[in-house]
Amino acid sequence: MSKTNDEVYEVVRKHLLEICPDIKADRVVRTASMKELGASSLDMVEVVSCSMRELGVRIARQELSTLKDIGGLVDLLHDAALKKKVA
């Protein structure tokens, strides 16, 4: 069964906090951007690739380049997971 949007959010949040132990957990919300929280480019690449791997989905660069915040990433990953289930 495909994960809910909240479950996808927990996957992203878990990887972000693991990869960036200096980010305070209570600052990680859907409206925050990883960059503003202090994540480096390498951290962001790792968060996205770990999340994609765990969820078994892939997202095109063009879609990811429009992202503004963590919520946007979660929505994209969730949509990709739903499409995969339909396919």
């Binding site: 990869i19 960036c20 480096s40 951290d43 962001m44 690449v45 690739s49 990811l64």
Partner: protein
């Protein structure tokens, strides 16, 4: 020779030389063979493009359909792009046969070429030396004929330093002339075309640089038709605050004399821009890029050490800790005087066509397993700050100027030494033409012994 035969020749060279060099890190021979057959069909139909059938590898910093674009970063091992980077698409449209990709350091952010995914690339002139970085796999492939040419990129000398270290030609184009979308860095998912990063060709001749720029450039390159007898060239070989090896200064002098002998007017000049201010503005950007390409926890560790260093401490540790606590916009602010510096440079380029200068502080260096934030730079046996690697590349990068690197001589140890030819904004054809005149005067590219044995 047909495109398929040309490709098979490249495969033979890769089979013979790549095990020792580890420059080509991905290949798709089946797809390349299909592309070469299609190229032969275009020749037969009279529809071949300007680069049709040339078998090439592409630096693994660019997105190329059919290959992972890893940029040496394990987290990107599965990053399979759906589109070619626009610069790569231009080459493909012109008919090139892409057979594989070449090695880079992680995020193209090192002066050696080694990463966890593919290991270390060696210099074809001496396997104990690094070919430099970040276009280290690219220059090794071009110098040994495993690739007809390469597409390089340059943020911290990544075209100029490896071309100098392996004796090939390279062109750092005017900022913005070659499209950079589809290049890593920045990270492939979140950023747009960044400042300071440019792409350009790496070749075995100056003529090839000109041909490739005519394909890669997204607007026409202004032609340069002045006869050599009316060229005026400046020579700059002293960098305040940075050391330059004798052999490198000698190579610039050889180039200056050779061009003078062909009829150009050559004169020694003082730096026409505030050398140290430009360099330090660059170092702020280098540190910004360093912090972006490493885990943020490293940045926190550097920030915590900021109090250990005096304000005038120029060591890499001081720079990295001083910049770790600053925001991206604070670090970008170091570039604010750029328009003023360019304005001050205008009278110089009204007088001079170009400036000859060293491409790097030293000829090729031995491999060093330490990261650049831990190892010193050795110049003529003296320990210096590794950040001096950027003293000679900073002006063209900060000021967005074109710069061509051309091979000149080999030093007493047999290491290639080149010259950097710095031109005015949009003067890409000027620096390439001067590299061409120098090539005619000094003999240009010489194949490393390793590759000569195969010929």
């Amino acid at each position: 020779m047909s495109s398929v035969e040309l490709l098979e020749q490249a495969f033979d060279r890769i089979d013979a030389l790549n095990p020792a060099l580890n420059a080509v890190v991905a290949q798709d021979r089946a797809a390349a063979t299909c592309a070469a057959a299609a190229s032969d069909a275009r020749y037969a139909a009279g529809t071949a493009g300007p680069l049709d059938g040339l078998p090439v590898t592409i630096k693994d910093a660019f997105e190329v359909v059919g290959f992972a674009a890893t940029c040496g970063v394990p987290a990107l091992a599965d990053h399979h792009p759906e589109h070619d980077a626009p610069a790569v698409a231009r080459l493909r449209d012109a008919g090139v046969v892409i057979l594989g990709k070449t090695n880079v350091p992680p995020f193209s952010a090192e002066w050696q070429t080694v990463n966890e995914l593919f290991g270390r690339t060696n210099n074809p002139w001496d396997l104990a030396l690094t070919p430099g970085g970040s276009s280290g796999g690219a220059v090794a492939a071009v110098a040994t004929g495993m690739s007809a040419f390469e597409l390089g990129s340059d943020i911290a000398g990544s075209i100029r330093w490896p071309c100098h270290a392996t004796g090939v030609f390279g062109h750092k184009s005017t900022q913005g002339l070659v499209e950079m979308r589809g290049h890593i860095p920045p990270a492939p998912w979140f950023d747009d075309e960044p400042d300071l990063v440019v792409a350009g060709p790496i070749t075995r001749s100056a003529k090839d640089l000109a041909l490739l720029m005519s394909v890669l450039a997204r607007r026409p390159v202004a032609p340069f038709t002045k006869p050599v007898s009316s060229w005026r060239l400046g020579v700059l070989t002293e960098a305040p605050g940075a050391a330059t090896a004798r052999a490198v200064v000698d190579a610039v002098d050889v180039a200056a004399n050779a061009l003078a002998n062909t009829g150009a007017r050559v004169e020694r000049i003082a730096s026409p821009f505030p050398f140290t201010a430009v360099w330090h503005a660059y170092l702020s950007q280098l540190c910004r890029m360093h912090h972006a390409s490493r885990p943020s926890r490293e940045r926190h560790r550097w920030a915590a050490r900021a109090g250990e260093f005096a304000d005038d401490d120029e060591s890499p540790a001081a720079w990295l800790s001083r910049t770790a606590g600053r925001s991206e916009s604070e670090l970008f602010a170091a570039l604010e005087p750029r328009a003023r510096w360019l304005e001050a440079l205008a009278p110089c380029f009204a007088e001079l066509d170009a400036i000859l200068m060293p491409p790097a502080p030293t000829p090729a260096l031995p491999h060093d397993p330490r990261g650049y934030d831990e190892r010193p730079l050795i110049v003529d046996g003296e320990e210096r700050s590794i950040f001096e690697m950027t003293a000679w590349i900073a002006p063209a990068t900060v000021l967005h100027l074109p710069s061509t690197t051309a091979p000149v001589v080999r030093d007493a140890a047999g290491r290639p030494c080149g010259v950097q030819i710095l031109g005015p904004l949009h003067g890409d054809a000027i620096t390439i033409a001067i590299a061409g005149a120098l090539e005619a005067a000094t003999g240009g590219f010489v194949a490393p012994p390793l590759a000569r044995e195969l010929s």
